[in-house]
């Protein structure tokens, strides 16, 4: 299944793509395991970075350059740095141990196994059309297409995303705002 998929993607440079795919897949998979098993939160963040970077590599192989770039910029760059800053600024001890208890571990393992089996069965039985994920090779500017789609087919989603940003900004502003001192508030807002 996987072999077939990869060969479809990299029909021109077969084995290079294949090697790269296994490299990125192994990077994602192994660091995902390490992420879950590591008890140290900073190390977890680093492993998360490797996982996300590996996924970005797979996106590149699939010909989804924009998606890969967004993955690198937003997740590997932005979100991860945010996580590390958040951990460092909020916890007293950034090298905190967050090892789960035995029961939690067992429950998580069972749930993860069930989910993995379910998804594996679903994906393997799906028989996805071969070219479904691949962008065509002859158009080097798939980004242009995405832009045009956002302004035509998905105009509503695109516009509403702007409203989401406004709302989130208002909400975040509200949550971090300090309390105005009572006397000051009384003076400026005319409260009794």
């Amino acid at each position: 299944m996987l072999l077939l998929h990869v060969q479809t993607v990299g029909s021109s440079e077969g084995w290079v793509t294949l090697v790269l795919f296994y490299l990125f897949a192994a990077l994602s998979g192994v660091s995902a395991w390490a992420l879950v098993l590591s008890p140290n939160i900073i190390r977890m963040a680093v492993y998360l970075m490797l996982t996300l970077a590996g996924v970005a590599g797979i996106y590149f192989l699939l010909g989804a350059e924009l998606l890969a770039a967004v993955q690198l910029i937003v997740y590997v760059g932005g979100v991860l740095i945010l996580i590390i800053f958040g951990v460092m600024l909020t916890s007293r001890n950034p090298y905190l141990n967050v090892a789960p208890r035995g029961g939690e571990m067992a429950l998580g393992l069972v749930l993860a196994t069930v989910l993995a089996v379910l998804l594996a069965v679903a994906v393997l039985a799906a028989g996805l059309p071969e070219a479904a994920a691949a962008a065509p090779d002859d158009d080097r500017y798939a980004v242009r297409w995405i832009g045009a789609l956002l302004l035509s087919r998905h105009l509503i989603a695109f516009e509403v995303a702007a409203v989401i940003l406004l709302i989130v900004m208002i909400g975040a502003g509200y949550l971090v705002r300090r309390r105005i001192k009572a006397n000051q508030a009384g003076a400026t807002e005319g409260r009794s």
């Binding site: 039985a125 406004l166 807002e189 005319g190």
Partner: protein, 579 residues
């Protein structure tokens, strides 16, 4: 080959007119913010502006509501990503009414209370309107991308609203739980969407449900389950209901009211649309797909209703009791949605009507019950039901009104809740054996729920007022004396009687349920009397793959509709699928 890059086309006037309610909400948010800046010394201005927005929204919904009803079709606009049909528009009307009532309730509760600084009022109003925008889009969504974006627009402000009392530990904890469960649910939902896109090759809901025509594939089923997980979070249906009581307790009463009515309503409408589309496709084959969906959604609803009722019985605080009650109520509606999955029964129009009717009743009884619970617990200084002993002597009017709402939630005849449940039961009863089982579940649950709906009344009416109760009662904060909240409750009580005695409520709602439908007509160009079109070939998304591999390529649909109003069931356009 990608084919030609689609032209960036401007929305037509028709499209802009049909999304007027959403535009009003968006503009309203901006006006609230600007009004807050312009009228600095007067903190009430943004709240009033938000109320004006809600009223303007109602007018806008009213203007868009009847047009599609006349044509007897739904309008699919913005490249079929939004459906503006009477079903969605009626929900939007309820939504605007909810915002208005919640804001009025808020005025009665918060003025003079320390929860929210006056400088925070515009934020509150803006978040409320933003969440409403998301819910309104959710009700019209016909495209997975819009579902996702609308779900986030509804959720993100809700997270903040849940923790709006940010100096209270309970509020912060509730908000945190809400965010975490919400993030997991959204993550699963997006994953499900990607699987569904893989299985069907399209983001359109009708193409996705249409992909189940050739038999349900595992990937489709898993994707659908994950998608429903996201819906279940918004519905606070049973595997994902944990946030609901905690959030309702940590948030102020008005936010709890808003979330319990508007958020659940939007999710019910979305679920109904999805299952209805599914029924329209699979039902014509009458295969096992419809039965699987019927069983799945039916069990989902039955478990939610039963679990909500069982846990509600154990609650001692009135707000948690109402939270579990709202979970159970959502379960009843989900059970009725299951009826839509078998269109072969030909009763989808009745089911739609029953759901809209129940949503209307639910709005009145829940807003009323929450308002009075807020007033009484503010006055008694505690939310424990036992601390409200003997309140019938202290506040007779409020206790009687609360009794009306609680008994309506139970389903006492002459009150709206009874007729609502009756319609739901009628719809379920037509589904054969599974339907009968659902009716039995509904009946048992209803009888069982009487136990906890009577609990606060038992304390307030039959228990003697404790010694020194007078002192506690008069020590309540001054907000509980304001007549504003009582006004909301009286309006809601009128609504409960209006629906319960059926003074024109059914005949008002029926046309909206009946025209919710399966017509497939784009607004670009006026629809002729009979339209034949092949949707999937015009779909640019599916051009991304070779045409021979497009799942939709073999589907050509013939859509016919007539403009005249036929009686029940036959009004909606018939869609024929030729595989």
């Amino acid at each position: 080959m990608l084919g030609a890059i689609p032209p960036v086309d401007l929305p037509t006037w028709t499209e802009l007119r049909l999304v007027m309610p959403e535009l009003v909400l968006t503009v309203g948010m901006v006006i609230v913010l600007m009004g807050a800046m312009a009228a600095r010394g007067r903190p009430g201005v943004p709240i009033v502006l938000a109320m004006v927005t809600a009223i303007a929204g109602m007018v806008a919904v009213g203007l868009t509501m009847f047009e599609p009803a006349e044509a007897g079709i739904e309008r699919l606009i913005f490249h079929q990503t939004l459906a503006i049909d009477p079903f969605s528009q009626f929900f939007k009307l309820l939504l605007m009414l909810t915002i208005l009532l919640v804001l009025i309730q808020w005025m009665g509760l918060h003025r003079g209370q320390d929860d929210l600084e006056p400088s925070d009022w515009p934020d509150y109003a803006c978040l409320l309107l933003g969440a409403a925008l998301g819910m309104s889009l959710l009700a019209s969504a016909r495209d997975l991308l819009v579902v996702l974006i609308a779900m986030e627009t509804a959720s993100l402000p809700s997270y903040v609203l849940a923790g709006i009392r940010k100096r209270r530990r309970l509020g912060a904890e509730a908000s945190m739980k809400f965010v975490l469960i919400g993030a997991v649910a959204t993550g699963l939902m997006v994953y499900g969407m990607s699987l569904l896109y893989g299985a069907s090759g399209s983001l359109k809901l009708d193409a996705i449900v249409g992909a189940a025509n050739d038999g349900i594939t595992p990937i489709w089923a898993v994707g659908m389950i994950f998608l429903f997980t996201g819906f279940a979070f918004k519905l606070s249906a049973v595997p994902l209901h944990f946030w609901c009581p905690d959030v309702f307790e940590g948030a102020p009463f008005d936010v709890a009211t808003f979330l319990s009515v508007a958020s659940k309503g939007a999710a019910v409408v979305l679920l109904a649309r999805m299952v209805d589309l599914f029924g329209a496709y699979s039902g014509s084959h009458g295969g096992e797909a419809g039965m699987a969906m019927l069983l799945g959604v039916g069990i989902f609803g039955a478990v939610t209703a039963t679990w909500g009722n069982l846990v509600a019985l154990r609650q001692t605080r009135i707000r948690r009791m109402l939270a579990y009650s709202s979970i159970a109520q959502a379960g009843y509606m989900i059970m009725a949605v299951a009826a839509l999955s078998v269109a072969g029964s030909g009763h989808s129009a009745e089911a739609m009507t029953a759901i809209l009717f129940y949503l209307t009743v639910y709005l009145f009884m829940n807003v009323g019950a929450f308002t009075l619970a807020a007033r009484i617990s503010a006055a008694s200084g505690s939310e424990e039901m036992s601390s409200m002993a003997g309140w019938i002597h202290r506040r007779p009017l409020e206790v009687v009104l609360l009794g009306i709402f609680l008994l309506s939630l139970f389903g006492l005849p002459t009150l709206g809740g009874f007729l609502g449940k009756w319609y739901l039961a009628v719809v379920m009863g037509r589904l054969g054996e599974i339907g009968i089982a659902l009716v039995v579940v509904l009946l048992v649950n209803t009888l069982f729920s009487l136990a906890f709906y009577l609990k606060p009344l038992y304390h307030m009416v039959l228990q003697p007022m404790p010694q020194g109760g007078e002192a506690v009662a008069s020590a309540g904060s001054r907000s509980d004396h304001s007549p504003i909240g009582l006004g909301v409750a009286i309006v809601c009580a009128a609504g409960v009687f209006w629906t319960g005695l059926d003074l024109g409520a059914t005949s008002l709602i029926r046309p909206f349920g009946h025209t919710a439908g399966r017509g497939m007509v784009e607004t670009r160009g006026d629809p002729p009397a009979a339209v034949q079109q092949t949707i999937f070939d015009k779909d640019a998304e599916s051009n991304l793959r070779p045409s021979s591999q497009r799942p939709g390529a073999s589907l050509s649909r013939t859509v016919e509709f007539t403009g005249d109003h036929a009686p029940s069931g036959s009004l909606k356009p018939s869609s024929v699928i030729n595989p």
